[in-house]
Amino acid sequence: MSQVLHTPPPRQATVDDDLATLAARHGLAVSGARPSLPEYVRQLWARRHFIVAFSTAKLTSQYSQAKLGQVWQVMTPLLNAAVYYLIFGVLLDSKRDVPDYIPFLVTGVFIWTFTQSSIMSGTRAISGNQGLVRALHFPRAALPISFALQQLQQLLFSMAALVVILLCFGVPIAFSWLLVVPALVLQFTFNAGVSMILARVGAKTPDISQLMPFLLRTWMYLSGVMWSIDRLTRQHDLPHPVIVMLKLNPPAVYIDLMRYALIDSFHAHQLPPHVWAAATGWALIAGVGGFIYFWKAEETYGRG
């Protein structure tokens, strides 16, 4: 009945051909093959509820052991803003140059944090969730997107805190506040795209997550989070390419858009040229490019 296979079966060579044709005859597909791009998008759309549920679950489980619970969602960004105010507003006194410095600073910090934490969590989206990747089937892009969505939800809590700060410092409510919505949509797309690029890099080379904090901190200081790029470029005689690069740096674009939308003393002439085109362009380049780049390695995630 049965045979003990101490040696490879003698029919090995012929069996190989047989198995492939047998598989083809019965319409069996190669397990774990990468789906086509439209099919991949369809699968991802089918998992949209999982993406939302996963990000919300991550968000709520974050503070579930704390006594104050979800209050920390608002407290953490507020404390962050307080620290930056202490250093840049009080000790270094950067506020002389900028009107409404506190709203200016807090908006910058919150919007920057959104991009920074999306990228950081994106870097670990695959490498930090190998268990999930090796246990369940789903389009892997669901992970970095889900983490970016978690950061977006986190930002919405911060925005609630921001509104309170703005009103406290006498910034009037204006119709321009509605611009927050398209600005956030574009920034989210940009963040998700960059997350997907780094998720693929991080899946192959986990070391990158050790490097990212330093890169991100450098990027933060270049992005005008605590200082005004517009003022710097007008006060100092910088070469033109440097000015363009500083102004069209994606986080700077999104931060300035948000400041323009929320703060009445931040005027349109302080914005980079063609700001909406730049914001949309970055979102499309990162979003579409990142998605395709991530999909190209879909079948390799999980190898460890």
């Binding site: 003990v4 190669v30 709520t60 052991q65 090796r134 246990a135």
Partner: protein, 293 residues
Amino acid sequence: MADTTNSANDAIPTVIVDSVDIVYRVNGTGAGRGTATAALNRILRRKQAEKAAGVRKVHAVKKVSFIAYKGEAIGLIGSNGSGKSTLLKAVAGLLPVESGHIYTHGQPSLLGVNAALMNDLTGERNVYLGGLAMGMSREQVKARYDEIVDFSGINEKGDFITLPMRTYSSGMAARLRFSIAAAKDHDVLLIDEALATGDRSFQKRSEARIRELRKEAGTVFLVSHSNKSIRDTCDRVLWLERGELRMDGPTEDVLKEYEAFTGDRSPKPKAAPKPPQQGRPDPEDTKVALPSS
């Protein structure tokens, strides 16, 4: 072997594994022991000297071939580290193969949602999260919700489903995980040691559920160290040893050889007296701690 080769003509194959090799690469081991020079060496010399540079290859599965047919329940046995779970993950398409091919009918799924669940969330939210993670729609989870909770028996001792999962005993958590995982119907179902959880009554229920799933599913694979659950559920057994397929045949034949090989039981397992099976709890049972009622 005779029955499986005969059935090749009339039965429908659901999984074809064609001389598959699976290799894990582990960074920071071997000669260099993860020192900075070894790491630098690895970066500089990339492919040529993977081994010299401290990347160790673990050849987990070696040239394994078999065909599984619709309606079969196949057990995978072998000592620890023989490549059973690795092979299962490769069949599920979750682990890339080094060489060879795996063809499957539909999408084989691994029974298990552990990785998707979060200990800080309530059991209730985990049911939803797990269901969605397995690819069920929100409506499907909603429709099955009561069934899942009832099956797990979590609420038998009070309203536990609304508590965070970290407050559950290990047995309760395992029961909920199995109940969520078993809620979905699968084409090809892969089970990794899932039967060894929960108390005796839950084990009976889960065995019944596995049989149900097996009827609905095309093919079932079961990895287990419990020869009893292999005997109860499987009609064909693959025996892996050191990544090689050592034997493939009807359950009794293979288990007889396997037990002789491991030497932990008498060669005639059916002759083992009945009383111990009922009176003495299996080792798996004893580690389950349920809250006292």
